[in-house]
């Protein structure tokens, strides 16, 4: 007998195993082993799920430390010229990009290209070190850039002009050579044949006949948008892990906000309910799709806002109704909704640090920072003061005349920029489409500025896009009249 076993035999006896103590000891061993396994396996599984996000979180925090920060941004705002602004960025994360532009004494257009490349590099870096499941999700989400690029090409082909590759951000699978090849297309058929084998080729092919019949660009644009949103939503909604669930919240709010913006914009432009319904994304997170569609029938913007009053969005934008009534622009609503999306994502990323959220939050913040820097550079080239530039950043658009937002100021300060704006309105109507090339040759303005100004015109509700091309709104008409009167005087 083994030395000292007597006490254990007594214990076995107490438990009723006097005859077969070996069975007792075997059972104890099995129980101990099973208990250990039952405890340790979930822990290991949990660690395997959380650990990659823990590392990611630390990496993201380190990358967040490289945001340029308020003092540097103020220094940028105070710069006297575009060159000085780029030199000021030399000691930041953007230094290697500005160096490239400064070394070749290139201008703003090249600065825009390198900053677009910078954003692409940020996405590539995030995708490189993301855990596999998060990578799949982010990759699908980034396809919005491919959609944006394709829409630019579609618009150019529709208008019969060459698309400007420099304004495209080559994030996603469609790289610059591919985009260049697509941009060379002279017709929709050619573009779709070049896209054959890609997911977009199939989508566009289904709507080509309809487009050819009606020559209405929104048919193709809307097809791409719907394809993107449905695909991404089906991915985020399908049995995802705890770490990815937060993306569903973010993307759901994103879609809701896109739909509200569409509703507000089109309502402010008096677009028919049928057209609005066609442009809404029939997916809802906090707003059910049927409510969205019913809001398309709303009489005016106030009715749209009261229709979403019970949602988080209604609460925040209803406070801005007096501002809207004063300036007659939906930009304050759009700005507030964008802020809400960013704040919500930041809150989620703090609440769920071991999830995809810090990563998405970082991408959004970085995208904003790059956009702000690009706006500052544009403003510096145009000679704006730091106060004007700050105001333009707040409005989220680079507008030549901020005063256009204030009707009283339009009467008191009719400067050259407003005249230029008026000519652009007139010309955009004259060309009857988004023919930026035509306007470019007539005004002598570079195409990126023409596009920027046309975008502003649309944002400010001076022109609307219809099936037949651009059309002046009532507000646009009154501005054109005002300019003509001043010119006559």
């Amino acid at each position: 007998m083994v030395n000292g076993i007597e006490d254990y035999l007594t214990i076995a006896e107490v438990f009723g195993f006097a005859e077969h103590p070996q069975i007792f000891f075997t059972l104890v061993l099995i129980l101990a082993t099973l208990s250990f396994i039952i405890i340790i396996i979930p822990i290991i599984r949990f660690v395997m799920d959380v650990a990659p996000y823990s590392l990611l979180n630390a990496k993201i925090r380190a990358m967040e430390a490289k945001y340029i920060g308020k003092p540097k941004f103020n220094q940028l705002l105070e710069s006297d010229s575009l060159i000085e602004a780029m030199v000021n960025l030399g000691d930041t994360e953007y230094g290697k990009y500005t160096e490239e532009v400064l070394a070749d004494s290139k201008g703003l257009l090249d600065a825009e290209i390198v900053f677009n490349q910078c954003l692409k590099d940020v996405y590539d870096k995030i995708l490189h070190f993301s855990p596999e499941d998060a990578k799949r999700m982010i990759f699908t989400w980034t396809k919005r850039w491919e959609i944006k690029n394709l829409k630019k090409i579609l618009r150019a082909i529709h208008a019969g002009v060459s698309p400007d590759i420099s304004t495209m951000i080559p994030i996603g699978e469609l790289d610059v050579p591919q985009l260049e090849s697509l941009a060379d297309s002279r017709s929709m058929e050619e573009l779709i044949s070049k896209l054959e084998g890609t997911e977009y080729g199939e989508v566009l092919k289904d709507f080509l006949t309809d487009y050819e019949e009606k020559k209405f660009l929104l048919i193709l644009e809307s097809a791409l948008d719907r394809y993107y949103y449905f695909k991404t939503w089906s991915l985020v909604a399908s049995g995802i892990t705890d770490e990815l669930k937060m993306f569903k919240v973010f993307f759901g709010i994103w879609i809701d906000i896109e739909n509200i913006k569409t509703l507000l914009r089109l309502k402010s432009e008096n677009v028919s309910p049928e057209e609005i319904k066609n442009l809404l994304i029939p997916i809802g997170y906090n707003i059910m799709p049927e409510i969205l569609l019913s809001l398309a029938e709303a009489y005016n913007i106030e009715e749209v806002i009261s229709g979403i009053e019970g949602t988080p969005y209604g609460r925040i934008i209803s406070e801005l109704l007096p501002e809207y009534e004063e300036i007659g622009s939906i930009i304050p609503f759009e700005r507030k909704l964008d802020e809400f999306l960013l704040e919500t994502e930041l809150a989620i990323s703090l609440r769920q640090p071991f999830s995809i959220s810090p990563l998405v939050n970082y991408l959004l913040q970085r995208e904003n920072e790059i956009n702000d820097i690009k706006t500052v550079l544009k403003c510096k080239e145009e000679g704006y003061t730091s106060e004007q530039t700050q105001k333009l950043i707040e409005f989220g658009v680079a507008v030549p005349v901020i005063e256009l937002f204030e009707p009283e100021a339009i009467r008191t300060r009719l400067d050259i920029d407003l005249g230029e704006m008026g000519r652009l309105i007139t010309m955009s109507i004259h060309y009857g489409s988004k023919d930026t090339e035509g306007i470019e040759s007539t005004t002598g303005l570079p195409r990126h500025r023409v596009e920027e100004r046309l975008r502003v015109l649309r944002l400010m509700g001076l022109v609307i896009e219809t099936e037949k091309g651009l059309k002046l709104t009532r507000k646009g008409e009154s501005i054109v009249k005002l300019i003509k009167r001043v010119e006559e005087e």
């Binding site: 000292g4 107490v14 979180n57 990496k59 925090r61 430390a65 703090l350 640090p353």
Partner: protein, 242 residues
């Protein structure tokens, strides 16, 4: 060297103390170290901070090592002079001590998660180093409770020192229960680590949330305290001390 079953079981206890605690520390340090490496790739100057945070989850393995050495000293195995009269009570108390320190040592996983968040937050803003440390240290308490229980078991079972009492062999089984109570309750350190990690993030972005985040993170502590309380009651109730 004659080795009876009691000494062998005590050695198993020493092995559990060291082995399980090392699993916890290994995973914890692994998480922190990997987080540190990713941060250093962005900011090499953060190496010092990374080292400090990475050291935190190592303590659980040190507690395991300490307990294992105490057991081996108590049994005399470390000096190749097995102790005469090493009873079944002592053997089971060693097992209980091993389970207490070992399982509570798994709190290092939670500490690793919190420390990884501390590394990230400090790399973003060096001023939150102190806050990061406060949060990261929280899951340490579970391991300390495990060590405390282990030492009490070793002392009152007479494995170390001269305070051992003559109690029945069945009390030995109860000591395993005491060890399991504090050891398993120590797993709450993992939950505490996750809460602490979120707390670090919140306090770094919004310093005013520090107090509230601490309160939330400390909530997981209650389970560890319950575990310690039950372990002490088992020891007291079975007459091991008091």
């Amino acid at each position: 060297m004659p080795l009876d079953v009691n000494l062998a079981l005590a050695a198993v206890g020493a092995g559990l103390a060291m082995g399980i605690a090392a699993v916890g520390s290994g995973i914890g340090v692994g998480i922190t170290g990997a987080a540190g490496a990713t941060v250093i790739s962005e900011s090499p100057e953060k190496f010092g901070v990374t080292i400090v945070f990475s050291a935190l989850p190592q303590t659980q393995a040190i507690y395991g090592l300490l307990t294992a050495i105490l057991i081996l000293l108590g049994t005399g195995l470390i000096t190749k002079a097995p102790r005469e009269g090493f009873s079944a009570l002592m053997a089971m108390a060693s097992l209980g001590a091993g389970i207490a320190v070992g399982m509570a040592g798994l709190s290092a996983i939670g500490q690793g998660i919190a420390a990884a968040s501390g590394i990230g937050a400090t790399s973003e803003n060096p001023e939150v180093f102190g806050k990061g440390m406060v949060f990261s240290v929280l899951p340490e308490t579970q391991a300390i409770y495990g060590l405390l229980t282990a030492i009490l078991l070793l002392v009152f079972a007479g494995i170390i020192g001269t305070m051992g009492k003559a109690v029945s062999t069945m009390v030995g089984l109860a000591t395993i229960g005491a060890g399991a109570s504090v050891g398993l309750a120590g797993l709450s350190g993992i939950g505490q680590g996750i809460t602490a990690a979120s707390g670090i993030g919140a306090a770094a972005k919004e310093p005013a949330t520090m107090g509230k985040s601490i309160v939330l993170a400390v909530m997981s502590e209650t389970f560890a305290i319950f575990g310690l309380l039950i372990a002490l009651l088992i020891m007291y109730g079975t007459g091991l001390f008091g």
